[in-house]
């Protein structure tokens, strides 16, 4: 039963990584850039939701929608101001700019919201007051699943299905795939490449807001650097699954979460990060383009 418990919390953590990794992988697929500021968008989303719910007493759903809106706009603004002028620049220049944006967001958060940790409220309860339940118990209390865990997994699956439908069936989604394959050719076919890239950033940042709320519901301490470690882990997850591939990000995120929780449970809490990264290295040695990534042949 403990194994099942660990597995479920691993899948839940993995679902959060997967949602963040989706943002990384979509942006990478289309703009060929590592958006290191993505982790900090998560943090901004969590703060917006926190203030909306705790200070302005808005219902949680409104808080989440508000956070998504703010992050979507933020993602588009950052793309327009910082990344779009560098479309033709070498990828390292864009990487450093993304790091600059990451510093900027962290320090703005530090000034606006101070470095005092905020305790994120748990939205996912049934009932109210003293008798509020935070989870369901199965098998006579042996297996406890909190509502946060349950919701995280469900939301992740919904997002995954929606994105698969979006990229496969809609006009915008097809435009995205075309752009990620060949920008020049896409432009010749009449696709507005700039608008498509902007849209990708918008979707990625919106998802980051959702991930931020879920992350802070599960691990309720909120500081301006909350997003950086999950950001790095999710980036790792995206590479793990094969960067640029949406199912890859999903799979990579889930596996990373499960491995992390198992490493914490069965090997050592302190060394769990080392185990996660060691597994990543081994996987990349066997499959150098990630689990579901396409191995692109170099042309001479």
């Amino acid at each position: 039963m403990t194994f099942l418990n660990f597995l479920i919390s691993g899948i839940s953590l993995g679902s959060i990584y997967a949602i963040i990794a989706l943002g990384y992988t979509m942006v990478y697929g289309i703009a060929k850039m590592l958006n290191f500021a993505h982790g900090d968008v998560i943090m901004v989303g969590a703060y917006i939701c926190f203030y909306a719910v705790s200070r302005f007493n808005l219902p949680p759903l409104v808080g989440v929608i508000l956070a998504m809106t703010v992050c979507t706009v933020l993602g588009m603004v950052v793309e327009r101001l910082a990344y779009k002028p560098l479309r033709q620049a070498p990828s390292l220049a864009v990487l450093i700019t993304a790091i600059g944006v990451s510093y900027f967001l962290q320090n703005t958060a530090l000034l606006l919201w101070s470095s005092n940790p905020k305790v994120f409220p748990n939205f996912f309860t049934s009932g109210s007051g003293e008798t509020a339940k935070t989870g369901v118990e199965l098998f006579g209390g042996q297996l406890k699943i909190s509502y946060v865990t349950l919701f995280t997994i469900i939301i992740c699956i919904v997002i995954m299905l929606a994105l698969t439908w979006f990229t496969g069936k809609t006009k915008m989604g097809k435009a995205m795939r075309a752009c990620s394959e060949d920008k020049g050719a896409a432009q010749l076919m009449g696709i507005n490449v700039d608008a498509t890239i902007s849209m990708t950033f918008a979707i990625g940042s919106g998802l980051a807001a959702v991930a931020g709320v879920l992350l802070c519901s599960a691990y309720p301490t909120l500081v301006p650097t909350t997003g950086s470690m999950p950001g790095i882990k999710a980036f790792t997850a995206a590479v793990f699954g094969g960067i640029g591939s949406i199912p890859g990000a999903f799979l990579g995120g889930l596996l990373l979460g499960v491995i992390e929780i198992f490493a914490k449970a069965y090997i050592s809490t302190q060394l769990s990060d080392a185990v996660v990264f060691a597994v990543l290295i081994i996987v990349l040695l066997v499959k150098p383009a990630g689990l579901l990534g396409k191995q692109i042949r170099e042309k001479v």
Binding site: Y28, L34, F36, A82, P85, L86, Q88, A89, P90, L92, A93, L95, I96, T97, I99, G100, V101, Y103, F104, Q106, N107, T108, L110, L111, S228, I232, F235, T236, V239, I243, S268, Q270, L271, D273, A274, F277, A278, L280, I281, L284, L285, P288, A289, G290, E298, V300
Partner: protein
Amino acid sequence: MKSLKLNKTTRWNYLTYLLVILAYVILQVLGSTGSISSSLKGMLVPICAYIVMAISLNLTVGVLGELSLGHAGFMSMGAFTGVTAAIALQDAVPAAPLRMAIALAVGAAFAALAGFLIGIPVLRLNGDYLAIVTLAFGEIIKSIFNNLYVGVDSKGLHLSLLSDKTNLAEGGKLIIAGPMGIGGIQKISTFTAGFVLVMITLIVVFHLVNSRAGRAIMAIRDNRIAAESVGVNVTKYKMMAFVTSAALAGAAGSLFAMNYSTIVANKFDFNTSILVLVFVVLGGLGNMLGSIIAAAALTILPEALRQFSDYRMLVYAIVLILVMLVTNNPTLKSFFSRFKPGNRSGKEAV
């Protein structure tokens, strides 16, 4: 008089040496007359360490052309092994400069070993996959040093992971105490030692880059397949650049650590790797003088921005973004190049 005509690269290298020596002399003179502030004086050794870090990373990123996001891992390796050596030899080698030199050598050797071991899997990969694996190694090294306990007693060194199981004999002492890092370090790093290390780094890197091996490395960077087809051993030369870079970073780590009384593994995290990468990119890929200037300027900048107090890191971030935009956007670049004499056309190859 033909022999006096040096080619452009050699002149540029001599200019770099000259400027570094000049900077050292000026700072020494200013220091002895007491006209530099104490805060700047305290930063001289870290600046030297960051300069060495930047030059060594520039070897990987600029000359070899592979993005490394875990350079701080090598710095950490060098810092911990170097300081351990310095503490273990405290009685055996009383002369501080000699102990310092041994510590730097030990740090460099261990970092080179780590670089070699990491290089075996890493150099099989390309591009962003290589970057993520270096990041992963940086994090692994950090985790290990965060959980490593090393003690020394009459029977020699004792190591243990996760918890303190070193069981030291009477009179022994714990050197690395897991997450507490190393405490009670004698501050034997001096600005002169830093200067010497910077000079050694420059000599090593310039000689490597201007040698047959260096040309092979740059050929791999420019076109791996073409280099391979003319018989360049890709793995060997990639490894050569990577290990040299790691060794220099290890020495920088030793130098850096012995400027503080305590050092913890979390100091050398992903952010430190990124910080050094920022120096390299701002200074210009493959340009060592640029790395030196960027490392010195960007280490001083947060201090110089102290008057902005809370806003200083914000200003730093904005400066970083603006510099990248100005130097890389074609429109802005051609706008600024109009003001440069001798480069009037401002044409850009598309």
